[in-house]
């Protein structure tokens, strides 16, 4: 994995710029949002929560490039601070599914048998429900809020990683080097996690990138519906929901966070695509 990633990124920044343009652009967008989320105070010109009754619902100006909302809060600052919440959503919604799904997939793919049967049915059960419906149902039971949203998304999201990893390990375990590891007397844990898993991880990484984009969209959707981040926390979906009542008089409140969502989604997807592309080329 590290080999694929490092040499892939090296290739992206070295020759063949044109071919790797998507990865380059995606990485730049991702880096920008990561910076926003790590040190928003440096980029945001105002306090995102400070009311300013002298400047209510102002259209974009030089002083407020994204305008202000109905409380006079600076929209640019709010969008930048919101990226902290949304990047956090992207990571926390995917990190547990990534880890758990990968391990479950590796084990079921390697051992098969009853373990595979049990988890296979569990996967079937989860896949049967539409993703958004089951997430909303879980949040509805647990109560709205970011933490409960993480629980809901995590308890559903791992199945996709598990399916990918299971298939990958099933292929890899037929390979000669797997047989070679066996005749070298290595234990099963070592064969699975040291030898097979790194050879099957690339699709997982690609999917992870796409999944982070989806998580941002999902987080915004749930925020919009009032099931995710709660006001006054600046979160893109929440801001859009706040601004929807002023669409006809102050379009900028909802439009700029919407554009931020699009950019973040496109950025993560481009990175995922770029990595997948390098991987395909290699084979």
């Amino acid at each position: 994995m590290s080999l694929t990633l490092t040499s892939g990124i090296a290739a992206a920044f070295g020759n063949g710029r044109r071919r790797h343009m998507p990865l380059l652009v995606g990485s730049a967008i991702m880096a920008l949002f990561l910076l926003f989320s790590l040190i928003p105070g440096i980029f945001a010109p105002y306090d995102p929560l400070a009311f300013d009754y002298m400047h209510l619902s102002e259209a974009p100006t030089l002083a407020h490039p994204f305008g202000t909302d109905n409380f006079g809060r600076d929209m640019l600052s709010r969008v930048i601070w919101a990226s902290r919440v949304d990047i956090q959503i992207a990571i926390f919604c995917t990190i547990f599914p990534l880890a758990f799904g990968t391990i479950v997939g590796a084990l079921t793919g390697f051992y098969g048998g009853w373990l595979d049967a049990v988890f296979g049915r569990l996967v079937d059960l989860v896949v049967t429900f539409p993703f958004l419906v089951i997430v909303i149902a879980i949040v509805a039971v647990l109560g709205p809020g970011l933490f409960n949203m993480y629980i809901a998304v995590s308890s559903v999201g791992w199945v996709f990683y598990a399916q990918l990893m299971r298939a990958g390990v099933q292929v890899q375990k037929q390979s000669d080097y797997a047989a070679a590891a066996r005749v070298l007397g290595y234990g099963e844990a070592r064969i699975i996690f040291r030898h097979l898993l790194p050879n099957a991880i690339t699709p997982i990484i690609v999917y992870w990138m796409t999944d982070m984009a989806l998580a941002i969209l999902l987080g915004s959707s749930l925020g919009y519906l009032g099931l995710g981040a709660q006001p006054p926390t600046a979160e893109w979906g929440v801001i859009i929901a706040d601004g929807k009542n002023f669409m006809s008089t102050a379009w900028w409140i909802s439009v700029f966070p919407g554009i931020a969502i699009i950019f973040a989604g496109v950025g993560f997807s481009l990175v995922g695509d770029g990595i997948a592309d390098i991987f395909r080329r290699r084979n």
Partner: protein, 329 residues
């Protein structure tokens, strides 16, 4: 090759490997016996499907269900076929090393070569990290990988085919095994590299006083490297004996056919002799000798029951009813 297994390192007795359903078993290996003495190179030759690779793999229990293995594989007094998994793991890679046909695919593509050598050392020796690194360099040096130190951090795809096979040998030899199982180790390599690898195996054999079982379909390789030869046909042993005796005077019609079908250098435009017909399907083995339908020496008794393996000369055994006719021919 007598019944006692006293001085043998490895004794295989009545080895059977069956695939297919219990009602209609397909015997890929049917009652094979052989011994390997310390320091000896045993060749196992035969056509594709003769059971030679399956025999090799069953020694270390690499046959997966639905394949079923029976018989005994005595390794230094212990039966590997009934050994608990934990002890078997110490034998695998520790006491018995294996190299495969395809060095391209038998190395893990995402781990460096040095790491793969060190991993075996970690599993089977008590060396510390620094000691493992030092030993890994020694081993790579030993198998003839130039600039070993700087190539430790290279990935398998940065090695050529021959170098990969050397790296595989280095991994297999990391823990000083007493027996090396080599499954067509040179088939995927071109002839000059093949020669180097075989010489390397022979050199290591004598330096480390290691035994080798070499499975191949290439009689030239056998002649060049092996002390004794076992010829397999349709899952059974056709003939075993010292390589020199067997090549000089084969006592099984199949061995003779094999030897005659090797093109010889120096002869000008001779028609290539070949054995007529095809090896039988495991599901449609003839009643008697499996080679009878293709055999120019066939007797009526050959079609009745599979001929037993009998001693035709000291340490030379053949399962051919026509072995006397062959001796005169």
């Amino acid at each position: 090759m007598s019944g006692d297994a006293g001085d043998a390192l490895l004794s295989v007795r009545n080895l059977r490997v069956a695939f297919g359903s219990p009602q209609h078993p397909l015997l890929a290996v049917d009652g094979v016996d052989f011994d390997v003495a310390p320091g000896e190179v045993l060749g196992i030759a035969g056509e594709s499907g003769s059971g030679k690779s399956v025999t090799l793999r069953s020694i270390l229990r690499l046959i997966h269900p639905p394949g079923r293995v029976s018989g005994r594989v005595l390794w230094r007094g212990r039966d590997l076929l009934t050994l608990p998994e934990e002890e078997l793991r110490r034998v695998r890679g520790g006491e018995i090393g294996v190299i495969f046909q395809e060095p391209m695919t038998a190395l893990n593509p995402v781990l460096t070569v040095g790491l793969q050598i060190r991993e075996n050392l970690k599993e089977h020796t008590g060396l510390d990290a620094a000691g493992r690194r030092k030993r890994a360099i020694e081993l790579m040096d030993h198998v003839g990988i130039p600039a070993a130190q700087s190539r430790l951090e290279d990935y398998p795809h940065q090695f050529s085919g021959g170098m990969r096979q050397r790296a595989m040998i280095a991994i297999a030899l990391a823990s000083n095994p007493q027996l090396l199982l080599a499954d067509e180790p040179t088939t995927a390599l071109d002839v000059t590299i093949q020669d180097q690898i075989l010489k390397l195996i022979l050199r290591l054999r004598s330096e480390m006083n290691m035994s080798v079982i070499l499975v191949t379909h290439d009689l030239g390789v056998i002649a060049q490297t092996c002390d004794r030869l076992a010829v397999m046909y349709a899952g059974r042993l056709a003939e075993t004996g010292p390589v020199a005796a067997l090549f000089r005077q084969p006592r099984h019609a199949y061995t003779l056919g094999l030897l005659n079908s090797v093109p010889r250098a120096g002869q000008i435009r001779q028609p290539l002799a070949s054995i007529p017909g095809q090896p039988p399907l495991l599901s449609k083995l003839p009643e008697g000798c499996a080679f009878a339908p293709r055999c120019p020496f066939v007797l009526s008794a050959c079609r009745e029951a599979p001929p037993p393996l009998v001693e035709v000369a000291p340490d030379h055994r053949s399962a051919c009813l026509a072995h006397q006719a062959l001796a005169k021919a």
